[in-house]
Amino acid sequence: MKVGEERRIIVPSDLGYGGRGAGGAIPGGSTLYFDLELVEIGQMSQLGPEQLKWLEDNPL
């Protein structure tokens, strides 16, 4: 997704809040519907030893 791009996104319940729901506003099993626009891509985070280790320990 790139800056200025706008998407409609349908997120199945199991990728969202699952059977538990959230905060009373979102019942369990809810499909989530997002209108979303990427407004800006900013700076890269400062990556010190701690951050680099975290990224390595949590690969995509």
Partner: protein
């Protein structure tokens, strides 16, 4: 809350192509998700809702694991790059239940970056789960914010 972070990471992995899960692992995961859902929802949920009855999804692209999307507006510069992991991003969003309001009059707005006094883009670091926010959760509003940030997090990187 950890569970959501894990989900978002798994989803990212699926899409990045760095680690393609086998069909078996995917099936096992579904079974696990289904069981967990059953436990917390006292049994009335069966499978995650892959098909949804709220709106007609014709014209949507298929994303990973049942996620669907449709480009509403093209990027400002098609040759620009997508965000990298650990890069700061800003996004505006509205979260609906029951579908989008123009295709389902029963759609209900649950959260939005747009308030009565204007738009306030939500800023976060892409692709890192932002788990540090857990430590400063003080109220329900902050809690929800964290969850949403995770959702938007993977949505942006994935698509």
């Amino acid at each position: 809350m950890k569970m959501f972070a894990v989900f978002s990471l798994m989803l990212l992995a699926n899409v990045s192509g760095l680690s393609i899960p086998t069909l078996e692992s995917s099936v096992e995961r579904r079974a696990f998700v289904s069981k967990s859902a059953g436990l917390v929802a006292t049994g009335f949920l069966s499978l995650p809702n892959i098909a949804n009855a709220d709106i007609d999804t014709a014209g949507y692209e298929d994303g990973p694991r049942g996620l669907k999307y449709k480009v509403i507006k093209p990027p400002t510069d098609p040759d620009s790059s997508s965000p990298q992991r650990a890069q700061k991003v800003k996004a505006t969003y509205t979260l609906w239940l029951k579908g989008f309001p123009d295709v389902n009059p029963n759609a209900k707005k649950v959260d939005s970056s747009k308030g009565p006094f204007g738009e306030k883009p939500f800023e976060f670091v892409a692709g890192v789960g932002q788990v540090r926010i857990i430590h400063v959760v003080l109220n329900m509003s902050a809690f929800c914010r964290y969850i949403y940030s995770n959702l938007i997090n993977f949505v942006i990187l994935v698509l």
